[in-house]
Amino acid sequence: MSTLAFSLSDFSWSRLVDVEWYWAALASFVVCAVIINLLAVYAGLNTLIERKIAAAMQARVGPWQVGPHGWLQWAADALKLMFKEDIIPLQADRMLFRLAPFVVFGGSFACWVALPFMPGWSPVTMNIGILFVLAVSSSVVLGILMAGWASGSKWALFGAMRAAAQIVSYEVPVGLTILGMLLIYGTLDMQKISAMQESGGVFGIVTDTHLGIFSWGAFRHLPFTFIACMTYYTGALAETNRTPFDIPEAESELVAGYHTEYSGMRFSFFFLAEYANMFVVSAIATTFFLGGWLPPFGTFFSHVLGIGHGVWIMPEGLGRMFEGLFWFFGKSFVLVLLMVWLRWTLPRYRVDQLMDLCWKKLTPLAFVNLFAIGLSEYNPWIGLGLGVVALGFVGELIRREVMAPAPVEHPKIA
């Protein structure tokens, strides 16, 4: 048992090859069980929070009956879905119908192992962290196609093809913005990326200075990294099929899209996979653009107020790891709440508007952004100059929009 007595930051899967195989199996099982159960509870709570926020924005109360003020509704929903009858339509392809939810679920949940939850610890430390996440989340498309096909109905198939086309298209601007940020960080390992946002910034002109928030990814090469953040977040909204890009699941359009024929526990897999995917893309945005597990104003606390240790409030050790976990989870969750907020605020895009936005607007913007970030990595002063030019350009666009004359009212056609 003494081989199991290590601290959390020492944990590494490769250590397990030194112990007996049953201890290794037990340790793996425990870690996986903890992660999956936490994810399931998180996804369930996310559904409830979404309903509550939707209710608040629509001036009603939302779920109210189950538990104190309806806060156990997610448990009731989970139980109901578990006990529902498992219906497989007659014309469905039985094997693929059963397999599809697992492919989608597996793709979304497997991304969680690469996220940098605490300073120095992720469930699996990989030196290709972000590539792994991109790879596994692109295999969700196949699960969607499988689900749409295996349902054996036209509506499901059209919904699946639209969803697949949307996800595959929006992977391009997402990948390009991440590529731009990788030019700055120089590594694919998300732990190191989070650590690098502790100091430096302003186009890389200053290094080793802790600038607090302004060392974070989104502010390092203003305005290009900020544009990258916005582009990434928009692309991520489309990847997870959230409004305003939720044509594949729009109830008024295609019944329920590719999961029309699914009921009960199989449907809940799709549901959980969507919420898990929302958290993953928010976590990636946090890692790349918002500082990962770094606290926002740590140096303020330590230099001005005299409390804390440098950037951190807690001293080194387990306390600091949990402080990092708090900030990481907090920032990701704020981004998830932003997604929920957007869902109940914005109307839906049409399919052709959606594709137009991706290929004609976001992809060229991401290319230009990549080019600009590359130039500013080469020489910070070029970046500064380009940044000023870009800000001037954006300002001119805004000015033209604000000063535009009022639209002419067209005569009504009888």
Partner: protein, 312 residues
């Protein structure tokens, strides 16, 4: 059987048998959609094999491009070239005994070649110039560190340090000048690994075992020798080489350990950086050509597959 062998075998056979079964399903299934999704199984099995061999970048490239791109394209093509009702028995094949026999012959020939040929597992060639090493031309596996003894009292030494990008290190030391005694001395090689996040500078370098100790007979000890340190995990290391002199006649700085501080080197696991360096240096022309080819394929495929606008 230790955990490591068990884990190796379980991981390999699980994914290998999955890939084989899936590839047989691709070959034999009568339903073309099931064939396409069995191809998904093969691609994931192959990606697992790449991960098993620690070629991490290729895993990601395989999944992103093959699974997320090519397979989606294949499934779209299947869905666009069949009516929705006639898919269930749609994938005809014309198996004849000739095809089966030919394939079995090929398989037999390949297995014979694999079983009888011995593959050369020796250490890499010694003639790595530093330029090639830096350019990432081959996987640099030897640190060309020469410890040249200039003076017998151990105050100077000429060192050429380098960066190491693989899990093992060969420290080559060349003794060019012997001290003035015939007695053998211990040549101790110590390698320390840097521990991050330590506030205390002294605690940051932890001794790494095993520490190699070689007895060098210094009269016939001239020439180069290799000490190979393997199974280094990724990190920053520094090495020191010291001669621990014997008592009495060995005129080495009063018999105290005589140390040459080595330079630090970094061990990085993974294929990403060497691959990137290789693509930008030695494989630059193919890289550019393939980007032009992909552009041509993109434009060409979009043009060929478009619907003709019929004249009314």
């Amino acid at each position: 059987m230790g955990t490591e062998e068990l884990l190796l075998n379980v991981v390999f056979y699980l994914f290998a048998i999955g890939a084989v079964v899936a590839s047989i399903a691709v070959a034999l299934s009568t339903n073309i959609i099931r064939s396409a999704f069995a191809l998904l199984g093969v691609l994931f099995g192959v990606a697992a094999m790449y991960a098993f061999m620690r070629a991490d970048f290729v895993v990601a490239a395989q999944i992103i491009i093959y699974v997320g791109g090519i397979l989606v394209l294949i499934i779209f093509a299947v869905m666009l070239t069949h009516k929705i009702t006639d898919v269930n028995v749609s994938n005809e094949s014309a198996p004849g005994p000739a095809a089966v026999f030919a394939v079995l012959c090929v398989l037999f020939a390949l297995c014979v070649i694999i079983a009888t040929r011995t593959w050369d597992r020796s250490a890499p060639a010694e003639s790595l110039t530093s330029m090639e090493k830096l350019a990432g031309d081959t996987k640099p596996t030897t640190a060309m560190v020469n410890v040249t003894l200039l003076q017998g009292d151990g105050t100077t030494g000429v060192l050429k340090g380098g960066e190491v990008r693989s899990p093992f290190v060969v420290l080559r030391y060349e003794v060019t000048q012997a001290p003035s005694t015939a007695e053998a001395a211990h040549f101790a090689l110590e390698c320390s690994e840097r521990i991050e996040n330590q506030p205390d500078e002294k605690k940051r370098w932890a001794p790494w075992s095993p520490v190699k100790e070689t007895t060098v007979g210094l009269t016939n000890g001239l020439g180069t020798r290799d000490e190979r340190l393997s199974n280094l995990k990724p990190g920053r290391y520094r090495w020191t080489a010291s001669f621990v002199g014997g008592q009495g006649t060995l005129a080495l700085a009063g018999g105290k350990p005589w140390t040459i501080e080595g330079t630090t080197f970094t061990v990085e696991a993974g294929l990403t950086r060497p691959l990137g360096v290789a693509l930008m240096s030695r494989y630059l022309l193919p890289f550019e050509l393939i980007s032009v080819l992909l552009l041509a394929a993109l434009v060409g495929a979009a043009y060929i597959a478009r619907k003709e606008v019929k004249e009314l």
